[in-house]
């Protein structure tokens, strides 16, 4: 991480949900994510992983602390160059695949020819070319999630935030989607932050994995995987893969017990 400049920087980031019974969900968190890095976050249920993504994306303000993306403070809105893929199916059911993917570009008032070129590329890249005219209801869960990724990809974000995007998919589809994500990451050169509850997914995809404590979520371990950039899902058979997953679980086990009230 040290050889490249920090792309996103979090300092003392804390999030407390106000109300009659205040909930201290996150932090304080200090984190530097390098440009072009694939960083994953794992942690027990309810530890504030999604809250971390929300504050980094500018969807929610931190209660305390600062966030900077490309040197500019993130304050109250999603910065230019940041794309988010959500856990839930976020495709627009009234639009075709092609129109879903083009949604953001049309809002930007982009030239129609450029919209077509970018949409064709993104739809093809995500393997949706044969379904460009289909509606989300006609697609499987994995394909709908690919539509959402394509809709984010087409905006050419420099920082892609993914909130458990494969959470609803079966294991085989998740592995294949992981390969797609790695290909996307390599070809775009974007920085990726992935929130996931799956340790194997984090170990397979990431350059670095941050392990969070139970609520309020803080980083209790940062694990460097040391994988080459041109990796794919076949590394699950690598001996080091087991060691990385074991270390993640060893860091996480006590926190997970706490999260279910057995700590």
């Amino acid at each position: 991480m040290t050889e490249t400049a920090a792309h996103a920087v979090l300092r003392g980031v804390t999030r407390v949900y106000p109300g009659t019974s205040q909930v201290h969900a996150l932090g304080p968190i200090d984190l530097d994510i390098a440009k072009g890095e694939f960083f994953s976050v794992v942690g027990p249920s309810g530890c504030g992983k999604s809250t971390l993504l929300d504050v980094l994306a500018g969807l929610n303000p931190p209660t305390a602390g600062t966030i900077a993306f490309e040197g500019e403070p993130v304050a109250g809105s999603v910065p230019d160059g940041v794309g988010v893929v959500f856990q839930e199916d976020a495709s627009f059911p009234w639009l075709t695949v092609r129109d879903n993917v083009a949604f953001g570009l049309r809002r930007l008032g982009m030239d129609a020819a450029e919209v077509t070129r970018r949409v064709d590329y993104a739809v093809g890249f995500m393997g949706l070319a044969d379904f460009a005219g289909a509606y989300p209801a006609q697609l499987s869960g994995g394909m709908r999630q690919r539509v959402c990724i394509a809709r984010t990809l087409v905006l050419q974000p420099r920082l892609i935030l993914l909130d458990e995007p494969f959470g609803a998919l079966d294991q085989q589809t998740r592995l294949l989607m992981g390969d797609e994500l790695l290909r996307l990451w390599r070809e775009t050169g974007a920085t990726v932050l992935l929130i996931t509850h799956a340790l194997d997914e984090a170990a397979m995809l990431s350059d670095r994995v941050g392990v969070m404590s139970s609520r309020p979520g803080r980083f209790i371990d940062l694990v460097e995987t040391g994988w080459p950039r041109d990796r794919d899902s076949r590394i699950v058979s690598d001996a080091a893969f087991g060691a990385i997953t074991a270390r993640l679980w060893s860091s996480l086990r006590t926190e997970s017990m706490k999260a279910i009230g057995r700590g």
Binding site: V78, D89, A90, F92, P93, W94, L95, R106
Partner: protein, 253 residues
């Protein structure tokens, strides 16, 4: 034959079968024609009536009253639904009133409405409007409630302002429920106005049916009843067709 074609054929088959059964029952004397006319005679009577100026004037009066009541209910019901959705505390306070609204027989307010608006079309418009309004209001609330929160977050990710979020994300997402509200509002406005005319008015199709009934004029009564029935079915079918087309349509802004 596709599944949807089979469904349409079955629907038409059942309807035609029932009509033919009634026709046969009336013609054979099983059902006395003094009580019920054969459907073929009802249809002939309807066509005859629709060529008379008096009935056409009643049709125009009823349809214009329904149209005004329906449009007002849809527009005001939608606006009120949006406003109420934005005021959750106030909504919680009046939710029980909304839930019990249809248990109130709104026709009892007719004397009050006549006192307020005079002996004109306005009291009938008010009755149709009051019958149709909650359907649109409740459908709007339901539609807005059912917009998945993640779609609002997608709008924020695309840095859309409030107006564009409403037009490009919220409205299309809520559309299926809004259309249900529009269809129900039309049905309730129709029922409210016809029933109002039947009981309380001196004009319109409802009044003409009531007058024919009191005069033992079965031919006119059944002819007009068939016309009202066909009008309701046709208007509902047209709205349903429009709804399906919009659902299939590609939404571009």
């Amino acid at each position: 034959m596709t599944r949807s074609t089979r469904i349409v054929c079955t629907r038409w088959g059942v309807s035609l079968g029932l009509i033919l059964l009634l026709e046969a029952a009336c013609r054979s004397g099983v059902v006395p024609t003094l009580a019920v006319l054969p459907p073929s005679e009802m249809f002939a009577a309807m066509l005859e009536l629709l060529s008379t100026e008096e009935v056409l004037a009643n049709v125009a009066a009823t349809f214009s009253t329904v149209a005004v009541a329906f449009l007002a209910a849809v527009l005001i019901g939608f606006a009120a639904g949006v406003a109420l959705h934005g005021l959750p505390r106030f909504r919680r306070a009046i939710d029980p009133l909304l839930a019990s609204y249809y248990s109130v027989p709104i026709f009892v307010f007719y004397p009050l409405l006549v006192a307020l608006f005079g002996l004109s079309a306005l009291p009938l418009i008010a009755i149709g409007f009051l019958a149709a309004l909650p359907a649109m209001l409740i459908a709007t609330l339901l539609g807005l409630d059912r917009v998945p929160p993640v779609l609002r977050r997608v709008a924020r990710m695309h840095r859309l302002g409030s107006a564009r979020t409403a037009a490009l994300v919220i409205l299309p997402a809520a559309l299926p429920n809004l259309f249900q509200g529009i269809k129900l509002s039309l049905a309730y406005a129709f029922i409210g106005v016809i029933a109002g005319e039947f009981i309380l008015s001196g004009g319109g199709l409802g009044y003409a049916i009531a007058y024919a009934y009191e005069s033992f004029d079965n031919r006119t009564m059944y002819g007009l009843m068939l016309f009202v029935l066909l009008s309701a079915v046709i208007s509902n079918t047209l709205l349903s067709t429009w709804e399906s087309r919009l659902q299939r349509r590609r939404w571009r802004a």
